[in-house]
């Protein structure tokens, strides 16, 4: 951390602090106008009824079978993709601890899905897993494993697969950084004491990694829960929350209803972000020790 002398204020005392607030002002005014005001507006819109304030838009969403189906679909997609993403990330992160030729290329590929526009990823995935795409070409035409092509695009398992492709790096990166924070000496001690590599992993590494696994899971879940481009392009009739908000607003033009759904979505995200920051703070503290 910066010492007091290294973080010396530009001007001492109250004048320096005053100048600090002035420097901060333009950004804060911008965010207040372009972000916080629209959020407040959305909140107000979600409770706007014909006769004053109403919660009808929330009950219409949370207490209707159609609304619950949307929530259920969103949760099923997100949970499945999260569990599978972490299952993929863990062995990969363990492998990436070693040095080997091409490690940089693997890391590059790991970052690629979250750097490119999601839309492009979704397009490539839809082409690849199409009924006549390469996967089905391999299974049906080349290897003759199946007689009929698999339907993957526009199905729930297909969307889960696409979410994993798109969002697993978020979990992978958190888990990689968690593994980096574990002192190799602890593992070595376990191995010297006669534990097999798997035993040491299960009893020493895994418990220490638990907070990172949770933090990584939340990170992936957040992305899946908020996913828009992938289900918009590759979801077909399956519309999870983000897409539903968009359609309710722009197709059905029911802005109060869409606003209520957006508020629910925002709240879920905020709760999960707070949980993530707690877990992350724990990892950071251990790293500093």
């Amino acid at each position: 951390m910066a010492e007091a002398s290294a973080a010396a204020p530009a001007g001492p005392g109250r004048r320096g602090r005053m100048a600090g607030w002035l420097l901060l002002l333009p950004l804060m005014v911008f965010l207040a106008a372009a972000f916080y005001y629209p959020i407040g507006y959305t909140l107000a819109d979600s409770m706007r009824g014909a006769h004053g304030i109403t919660l009808a838009h929330y009950t219409a969403f949370l207490a209707s079978s159609a609304g619950l189906r949307v929530l259920e679909l969103t949760l099923v997609l997100s949970v499945a993709a999260t569990v599978l993403s972490v299952a993929l990330s863990l062995p990969l992160a363990l492998l990436l601890r070693r040095r080997f030729a091409g490690k940089g290329a693997i890391q590059f590929l790991m970052m690629l899905p979250i750097t490119i526009p999601s839309l492009v990823g979704a397009l490539g995935l839809v082409i690849l897993y199409d009924r006549t795409g390469w996967l089905n070409y391999a299974l049906v035409a080349a290897l003759h494993i199946l007689r009929h092509p698999l339907a993957i695009d526009y199905t729930v398992p297909g969307i889960v697969l696409f979410y994993i492709w798109m969002f697993f790096p978020y979990g992978g990166l958190v888990i990689m950084s968690g593994l980096g924070a574990i002192d190799p000496a602890i593992e070595e001690a376990g191995r010297v004491a006669g534990g097999s590599p798997f035993y040491v992993f299960r009893t020493v590494v895994l418990p220490l990694l638990k907070p990172s696994l949770w933090a990584g899971s939340i990170m992936v879940f957040l992305q899946c829960f908020g996913a828009f481009s992938v289900p918009l392009i590759a979801g077909g009739n399956h519309q999870p929350l983000a897409v539903k908000i968009y359609t309710v607003a722009t197709v059905f033009l029911d802005w109060p209803q869409a606003s209520a759904m957006a508020v629910v979505m925002g709240m879920v995200q905020v709760v999960l972000v707070i949980a993530y920051r707690r877990l992350d703070a724990g990892t950071a503290a251990r790293r500093a020790r």
């Binding site: 973080a7 010396a8 950004l27 965010l31 972000f35 507006y41 062995p91 750097t115 607003a249 606003s259």
Partner: protein, 268 residues
């Protein structure tokens, strides 16, 4: 024993590489190939006609120009707002610093669609929708918070003795900023600028809510082309759309450890 243990690792890595890269291969094949019907491994013909189509039917030149102008505007706005703010957070002892940082980073913590509705309503009311400045401003909501994050750590890392030396030697504040701070903080400022540019260039959700006929951007045009069933044209546009992201990532991996990038990249 060792070679036996390597086999699963090799399988995992090969599978991983195919899993990640094949969607990109598909986009390239779709963009540069034609007569690719039914169960065929490769397109029948290699051609540039989809790029010509993109130029003629959807005026991709104008779309690219729109995207570039908006991204440059967004980068400029983002830096103008975030440089002073990050300086204040890093060098002035402000109270409630973590609360301030939380308030600044909040836009990155919730999905764009949750505030895009409100942004759209407001921008339409103010006449900012379908304007370069308006769309750029909507992108600044995402770009500026991350620029602040990058710049705060850059400014915190500056050696105060150099700043004091400059002041003692008679630098006026403006001179101090231009002659001392700017050169020292340049890598951080460049990184913040690149992140801002990319956030705007790649943005889809906010743009979708505030764009109009005069301000179609590459991601929006990709979406429109997919919606119209022109997968090949959409792929050709995607190839153009991908270039900055790939260059950016290649450059970035030389500068920063991948684990430290989490806050900067956010898909939707």
């Amino acid at each position: 024993m060792r070679t036996l243990a390597r086999l699963p690792a090799a399988i995992l890595l090969t599978g991983f590489v195919l899993f990640i890269t094949l969607p990109f291969v598909m986009i390239l094949l779709e963009a540069f190939g034609a007569d690719w019907f039914g169960m065929q491994l490769l397109p029948g013909v290699w051609t540039l006609k989809w790029f010509r189509w993109a130029a003629q039917t959807v005026d991709i030149g104008t779309v690219l120009l729109n995207t570039g102008i908006i991204a440059l505007l967004a980068t400029a706005f983002s830096l103008l707002l975030s440089i002073p703010a990050a300086w204040a957070i890093a060098r002035h002892r402000l109270p409630v610093k973590s609360l301030l940082m939380g308030a600044i980073l909040f836009p990155r913590m919730i999905p764009e669609i949750t505030f895009a509705l409100g942004v759209a309503k407001m921008f339409y009311a103010l006449g900012l929708a379908n304007t370069y400045v308006g769309i750029a401003l909507s992108h600044v909501i995402l770009a500026a918070p991350f620029a602040v994050l990058v710049l705060t750590s850059t400014f915190e890392g500056l050696d105060s003795r150099l700043l004091e030396a400059g002041a003692v030697l008679g630098c006026r504040p403006a001179q101090l900023f231009l002659r001392v701070i700017l050169p020292l903080a340049l890598p951080g400022i460049v990184a913040a600028a690149l992140f801002s540019f990319l956030a705007s260039y790649n943005d889809f959700v906010l743009t979708l809510m505030v764009y109009g006929p005069d301000t179609v951007t590459l991601p929006v045009q990709t979406y429109l082309s997919i919606g119209n069933g022109y997968t090949s044209v959409a792929s050709a546009i995607s190839v153009i759309l991908l270039i900055p992201s790939v260059l950016f990532l290649l450059g970035l991996m030389r500068m920063v450890r991948p684990e430290n990038l989490l806050g900067g990249l956010k898909g939707a």
